[in-house]
């Protein structure tokens, strides 16, 4: 109960702050739109190529963009944490009796809300380019995207608390992000690649999300890949949240 209340209070603080910073919002909106507008034309010649199911390239490409968006919005959470650490804000919050989970999750929740709004815009623009919406699939996909963003957000926040300063944090996050993104087939399906690449991808949680997202985008919900995505993301999310809460509870020396 107290955790819910504290999460609500902190969520409010972060969402108000985000709305007060329109520059940030414009940048956030423009990135996925640019992907759609500048990348989609390149895909025109792809239908029919091995690995692309029928139903238009956007059914493949747009879910990838949504996954990318969730991944990026989560893993950038720690930059704010570093700033708050250095301004003494985190310390001020940690000395109050506020729930440690709330201190972690409040800002992540506000990130989820803005991400969902961006997703809606991307889908709307996608429809303009010929994306076909399957509502039920999209709803399930939204839940998966929340899981991924929370997972990455908690990981990024805890990494920020451990590394404490911007250069070390950026090095760790970038070092981890690049292989994860390349091995997930975000922009092009991994199934186009050689065997070793496909095997390696199976160690990557993002890969499962991307594959499930493509299935959901064409309206296939009760499929093995969707179950697999939940089976990978739910436990991982729980573990990382628990770890990150523990980092908040212990010293941030």
């Amino acid at each position: 109960m107290k955790t819910v209340r504290d999460t609500g209070l902190l969520f409010h603080r972060y969402i108000v702050q985000m709305l007060r910073n329109p520059v940030w919002l414009v940048v956030g909106f423009s990135t996925p739109i640019l992907y759609l507008v500048l990348f989609t034309p390149l895909l025109k010649s792809l239908p029919g190529v091995r690995g692309f199911p029928t139903g238009g390239v956007l059914q493949i490409f747009l879910p990838g963009i949504l996954a990318l968006l969730a991944f990026a919005s989560g893993s950038s959470a720690g930059f704010g944490t570093i700033f708050e650490l250095q301004s003494g804000l985190i310390e001020r919050l940690r000395v109050t009796p506020a729930s440690r989970f709330a201190i972690l999750f409040g800002p992540l929740l506000s990130g989820l809300v803005t991400m969902t709004v961006f997703d809606a815009v991307v889908v709307a623009v996608g429809v303009g380019f010929g994306f076909h919406v399957h509502w039920a699939g999209l709803a399930v996909l939204t839940v998966l995207l929340w899981l991924l963003a929370t997972l990455m957000g908690a990981f990024s926040t805890a990494t920020a608390l451990v590394t404490k300063e911007i250069s070390a944090f950026a090095a760790v996050i970038n070092g981890i992000n690049l292989p994860i993104l390349l091995l997930a087939g975000v922009l092009l399906p991994i199934s186009l690649g050689p065997l070793w690449l496909r095997v390696l991808a199976h160690l990557n949680p993002l890969y499962y999300l991307v594959v499930a997202a493509r299935s959901l985008a064409v309206g296939h919900i009760a499929t093995a890949v969707v179950w697999q995505a939940f089976a990978v993301l739910v436990p991982l999310c729980v573990v990382v949240l628990a770890w990150a809460t523990r980092v908040f509870r212990r010293a941030v020396a």
Partner: protein
């Protein structure tokens, strides 16, 4: 004594790839309910580290601490509910207004919206912040910001308020103003624990204090008692530099019965005497007879710096980076 903070052999070391630092090496002290208690020490003495252990922010490596009746290591939540803490950095949200900061803080301490709003308004009135209540904190001056930090620390009416270097970076006027607020807070019953490296601040503000150096408590007492321990007054002689004048003067004066203690600081000699008025003419006569030229002579009541000097052999003004308004290190 009705103690609100009791520590016993508190210890903390930090390990890093470059070796370990014993930041706090076993400190024991008591703080009485309702007093202003100070930690005075140079940069790196371990003041902030001790404070962070007492406020549940840093795990304790050894020893025990009880704050407001609760053991810090075992009941951190209970401690948090009873204390307020203003860190060296402050930690107000620069993008929000002062009022918003206060309301969020009060609510995180469990207050309901109406109560917290009323309390925030009253506090801003008391701390002369009412005028800026609805301005973003990033537009506040240093003094206004520090007062807001204090308000954030007391929004929930804690039993003990911890202030880490409350007046660092403030001009003398703002500093005096902050002292008045801190005293008023004590008079309303809050116990205040503060750290400082300003001698004047420790002297003027604290009811009792400890002097800390290299992670250890050097001495403890009221400013008055501490200065009385040094005994008498200090005389600083600045000598004309001629063939070891300092050494000759030290040898000569050290042998005089009225000189209690003496330290040779190169081009000047500092001595402690029972009665300065009586000693000065004698000192001058003596030096004159030995043809030791005196450039200047300066008599002063003992300060806490003399206490520090006597205990550690160094001046607090030289140790660490002294008493200026730099020193935000660590």
């Amino acid at each position: 004594m009705d103690s609100i903070i009791t520590t016993h052999e508190l210890k903390k070391s930090f390990r890093s790839p470059r070796g370990s630092v014993d930041a706090v090496r076993g400190v024991s002290f008591d703080v009485a309910r309702g007093e202003i208690f100070g930690f005075l020490g140079p940069n790196g003495a371990g003041k902030t580290t001790t404070l962070r252990m007492l406020t549940t922010l840093l795990p304790i490596d050894g020893g025990t601490a009880v704050v407001a009746g609760c053991d810090v290591a075992h009941r951190p939540k209970a401690v948090r509910a009873r204390i307020g803490y203003v860190s060296q950095l402050g930690g107000a949200d620069a993008m929000a207004t002062g009022a918003e900061n206060l309301v969020l803080q009060g609510r995180l301490y469990g207050g309901d919206l109406a109560t917290v709003k009323a309390r925030a308004e009253a506090l801003m009135e008391i701390l002369d912040l009412a005028e800026f209540a609805h301005r973003k904190v990033k537009t506040y001056s240093g003094g206004q910001r520090r007062r807001l930090d204090v308000a954030l620390g007391i929004i929930h009416e804690p039993e003990v308020l911890f202030l880490d270097e409350p007046s660092t970076g403030l001009d003398p006027q703002n500093r005096a103003n902050l002292w008045d607020h801190v005293r008023a807070l004590r008079d309303r019953g809050t116990t205040i624990f503060l750290t400082t490296h300003y001698l004047e601040e420790a002297d003027a503000l604290c009811d009792r204090l400890v002097i800390m150096d290299h992670g250890e408590i050097v001495v403890e007492g009221t400013p008055r008692d501490l200065k009385r321990q040094v005994a008498g007054e200090s005389v600083v002689l600045s000598l004309r530099d001629a063939d070891g004048a300092g050494e000759r003067a030290s040898a000569l004066l050290g042998a005089q019965p009225y000189v209690r203690e003496l330290s040779d600081e190169g081009d000047q000699v500092r001595l402690y005497v029972e009665d300065g008025g009586e000693a000065l003419p004698q000192i001058l006569r003596l030096l004159d007879a030995e043809h030791i030229g005196v450039r200047s002579m300066h008599l002063s009541e003992p300060t806490l710096d003399d206490v520090f000097l006597r205990q550690t052999g160094r001046s607090l003004r030289d140790a660490g980076s002294g008493t200026g308004d730099e020193g935000r290190a660590a």
